[in-house]
């Protein structure tokens, strides 16, 4: 019994200390970083809020319920018995890697989940396959209010926000109107943003574009240019711009993982006020747990030494 209490006290002290420090850091970061507007924020560590929007026109679906979303995390848990106690243990997990967009009232910014800490509080869906196996799904859907902290940068080439008609998403033209040149120009604009290229054409998911996948990208660019050419009328004036322009909005910024320090790329569905309050409570409860655990250990060890 005493050994059990000793280990509980150790766990409380260590866990409480970690929670206290984490709560302090998160509260300091959130409270100390005012909210920026994407369009006018300077490059650097920012706090932004807005609504979630899709990055690619093809919908993403979670593998458990096949529901449309912009990001998912799925976790399969099995109930294990430890003597009389039963606990749920994770046996499988998966997270989507597709980027999504955060839009505020001034601009749009892409966020890549890789390297990001996307907060998972209560799951969106819990499905029990049977009494000892369950699937939990967390999702970000179109229109969800988002809060994000991270390193904001302006993209070298802005990307069109997908419209409901994919053929209109990107229009790139060159001065001479040659379809092959137009396709090359389009490919060059896609190459400016490796994240877009990998998202669309990395079929084997190895994070690189191999020669076969690059050929797919070339075919897609030619098809897109052909699609615009058949839609154009003979009397339509040739456009001379060589930069990507969208029928709808542009994605002009990217939120990335900050380099160095204890800052992170953090995304949450909760509001800034709720998160700050949560961090404050984590700090307080962590301190209480740490003090209780440490006091028990001090008293126990101290009394043993005094004897």
């Amino acid at each position: 019994m005493e050994a059990k209490l000793f280990f509980i006290a150790c766990a409380l002290a260590i866990g409480g200390f970690v929670a206290w420090r984490r709560g302090m850091k998160m509260h300091r970061l959130m409270h100390g970083t005012p909210t920026s507007k994407i369009a006018t924020a300077a490059k650097g560590f920012v706090e932004i809020t807005g609504r979630a929007r899709p990055f690619l026109p093809t919908p993403l679906r979670d593998p458990i319920t096949d529901e449309e979303c912009l990001w998912f995390y799925v976790c399969t848990e099995q109930r294990k018995r430890w003597g009389k106690r039963k606990t749920w243990e994770k046996i499988k997990e998966a997270q989507s890697s597709r980027a999504f967009v955060l839009e505020d009232d001034t601009a749009r910014c892409m966020i890549e989940p890789k390297g990001a800490e996307i907060e998972k509080k209560r799951p969106d869906t819990v499905i029990y396959e049977h009494s000892d196996l369950r699937h939990l799904v967390w999702r970000i859907r179109v229109g969800n209010a988002l809060y994000a902290l991270g390193h904001l940068e302006r993209l070298s080439t802005s990307i069109a926000l997908p419209s409901s008609r994919p053929a209109e998403t990107v229009l790139v033209t060159t001065t001479n109107g040659d379809p092959e040149q137009q396709a090359l120009s389009l490919l060059r604009s896609w190459k400016q943003n490796q994240a877009v290229l990998i998202e669309r054409f990395d079929a084997d998911g190895d994070g690189r574009i191999d020669p076969e996948e690059w050929e797919s990208a070339r075919q897609a660019a030619r098809a897109q240019v052909r699609g615009k050419a058949t839609a154009a009328t003979p009397s339509a004036p040739r456009e001379t711009t060589s930069s990507a322009t969208a029928v709808n909005a542009q994605i002009t910024h990217a939120l990335k993982v900050p380099q160095g320090g204890d800052r992170r790329l953090f995304v949450s569905l909760q509001s800034a006020a709720t998160l700050e309050s949560g961090a404050l409570w984590q700090k307080r409860l962590g301190l209480i747990a740490f003090v209780l655990g440490a006091l028990y250990l001090i008293v126990t060890i101290g009394m043993k030494i005094d004897r």
């Binding site: 420090r21 302090m24 300091r28 409270h31 100390g32 970083t33 005012p34 909210t35 920026s36 507007k37 369009a39 006018t40 924020a41 300077a42 650097g44 001034t106 301190l287 003090v291 440490a294 006091l295 001090i298 008293v299 060890i301 101290g302 009394m303 030494i305 005094d306």
Partner: protein, 183 residues
Amino acid sequence: MVVFGGIGVLLLFIVGVQIVHAYNKLVMAKHNVQAAWSNIDVVLKQRNDELPKLVQVVKEYVEYERDLLQQLVRARDTAARARERQDPGSIGFAESSVRAYTQRVLAVAEAYPALKSDHVFIALTKRISELEAAIADRRTFYNDTVRINNEAVEQFPENLFAGRFGFERVSPFRFDSVVPRRA
């Protein structure tokens, strides 16, 4: 005896961690204010760099408003000198004058259709307008960082050692309403 000693060490440890946290909070607040100020400064400079071009274009079309244009140039020079001193209070007043005279020049330009359709003038007014929007947003952001800094400096327990370590209150960046003098 050992128990009391242990409790004493625990209390000292907690107080030490809190002091480190409070100090780091003040450092972060101070750096955020400096970074936010640099970000406004950049945009103010860009806006003020556009003004001589605006004056040049307007001069070509508008013969009778030279005094107004000279006042805008003087306001811009005053703002540039204030920026060298890096004092938000005097910069705020100087920039308020620049904004007021810029708006007057743009209002006067409304009466000259040839000027209004000049492509250089159109591009300049668009650019100045975008920069003004950026200044407004960054000013709000800067003032938020100032508020957080001032709260950190004044709150307990940070106020016990803020002054000792050189952490001070900062003035917010305000634009006062300035009525341009009639030429």
